[in-house]
Structure formats: structure tokens, C-alpha cells
């Protein structure tokens, strides 16, 4: 029974597909279509090449090579600028580091002088004695 229904359904589908193919045949374009296309082709100016000039194969190759050369130059210039910026930043960082080291050195020197100075050990020992007596 199911097989019969499926066969019938397939038959109906095939019939519908036939109707569809019949209904969806190609149609003629409006009359004068080809003439209008040709007219547009004639009326449309060709897209000009660089600066309105038309280049042959050799010309196109030269333009392509010039473009590549320009690109290389641009990349090289950009790289140079980047390098110079990096160098300046490194120099600034180095100078800041040197300043920091000098400040730290001076501070340490002052601490060392205070530690080595007279009376410090006495003050420290009397302070510790006072704590024990209490």
C-alpha cells in the first residue's frame, strides 16, 4: 500500500516537473534588445588606463614594475622611520636608567656615611640596653 502511494507520489512529482519545464522555457527579450546592447557598447567609453593612456603589454609590465618599486620604497622608508623611533626610545630609556642609577648611588652613599658616622653604634647599644632594663 505504502509502495503504491510512493509510486503515485513520484509519478505526480515527475508530472509536475514536466509542467515546470514547459512553463519555464526561455522567453524572447523585448524587441530591439540586441540593438540597445550594441548602442550601449558603442556609447560607453572604454575605461581609461592610468592618466587616460592606454598601455600595451610592455607598458603594463613597466607600470606594474614601477608600482612594485614604489611599494618597496614605501616599505623601506616606513622601516627606516620605525628604526629611528626605536633608537631614540632606546637612547631615552638608557639615559633615564643612568639617572636612576646615579640617584640610587648617591642615596646609598649618604646612608653608608650615616652608618659609618660617630655615635651611631653607641646610640644603638644604649637603646638596646634601655629596652632590657625596662
Amino acid at each position: 500500500m505504502k509502495e503504491h502511494e510512493s509510486k503515485q507520489s513520484r509519478g505526480e512529482l515527475a508530472e509536475f516537473e514536466q509542467h515546470l519545464s514547459g512553463a519555464l522555457r526561455r522567453v524572447d527579450p523585448p524587441s530591439g534588445f540586441a540593438e540597445r546592447v550594441i548602442h550601449r557598447v558603442v556609447a560607453t567609453p572604454r575605461t581609461p588606463s592610468l592618466f587616460g593612456l592606454h598601455f600595451g603589454w610592455a607598458g603594463r609590465r613597466a607600470v606594474a614594475m614601477a608600482a612594485v618599486a614604489l611599494l618597496v620604497l614605501a616599505v623601506w622608508t616606513a622601516y627606516g622611520v620605525h628604526e629611528r623611533r626605536e633608537q631614540a626610545r632606546a637612547a631615552r630609556a638608557e639615559s633615564q636608567f643612568e639617572t636612576a642609577i646615579a640617584v640610587t648611588g648617591r642615596t646609598l652613599e649618604r646612608v653608608r656615611l650615616r652608618l659609618d658616622g660617630p655615635g651611631l653604634l653607641q646610640r644603638l647599644s644604649s637603646a638596646s640596653q634601655g629596652t632590657v632594663q625596662k
Binding site: 519545464s21 526561455r26 524572447d28 527579450p29 534588445f33 546592447v37 550601449r40 600595451g56
Partner: protein
Amino acid sequence: MSSEVPIDAAKFRRLVETHQRMVFSIALRITAEPATAEEVAQDTFLELFRSAEKLTSGEHILFWLRRVTVHRATDALRRRLRRPESAAEEWVSEKHDVAALPDDASGVDAMTAAKIHDLLAALPEPNRVAVVLRYQEDMTPEEIARLLNQPLATVKSHLQRGLQLLRRKAAVALREYIR
């Protein structure tokens, strides 16, 4: 400098005359609007004129024309659907379409053809494109997949869904014509 001339005028005219029915029909079935279809078809041939030097054989030209027409027609359809007044234009185009479809010897009269054309216009775009290429251009699903650059399973699914929708709509709209 011979490569500067893409194609000679006589050869181009022959190409237009050979393929104009196919290009216009694909555009008409996808856009469902004769004026837009003519614009799409003209643009396609204009692009063919510019690109003809790259096309190597008749088969290549056929493949290229079908692909470019489908893309341009779907673009035109999307642009139109984005416009708020598109619904009114569709109503007007429906009147043109009935007149544009002639009677033929395939057993389907003009009225049925016009009805099916209208039902097709109500299908979602991917289903519509697949159905047009399958039943108007008689292309296999494999050929459609290659043309649209889509997976075969996607094309088959679009075709199946499109047929289902069309059959359902036709069962109501064309009860007296189609079983």
C-alpha cells in the same frame, strides 16, 4: 596593441543574438520584473564585451554568462527588496509578465506558464535560482553547484525545498490545470 580591442563588433553582435534569450530569461525569472531583467541582461552583455578576451571557448562564455546573469539578477532583486515601494512594483510587473509569456507547443498554455512564473516569483531567492537553472536551463544539480560555487548538498536542498513550495502553491493556484 591588438589586445586593446576586446572583441570585434560583428562577433559581439553574434554573441548577443545567440545568448540574449537565455540571459534575459534567467534575469526575468529571478527578478520577476521585465524592466529590471532587461537592465540586468544589458549590463551582463556590456560586461561580456569588456571581458570577452578572457573567455576561451563557447562553453566558457555560456558558463560565464549564466554565472554573471545570476549574480547581477540576485543583486538587483536584493536591492529592490530593500526599497519600501517594491511591493507596488511587483504588482505592476505581474501584469507585464502575463503578457510577456507566449503560448508554446510544450503542452503548457500561456496562462499556466504565467501563473507558474508568478508562483516562482514568490519563492525565496536561493530556491528560485536553483529551480530556474534546473528547469529553465536544464542544468544538473552538479552543474548548478559548480556555477553557483555552492556544495552539491546545498543545491539539492534548495531544489527540493523550491519544488515542495511550488507544488504546494500550485496545488491551490492551479487546481484546474495541474493535478
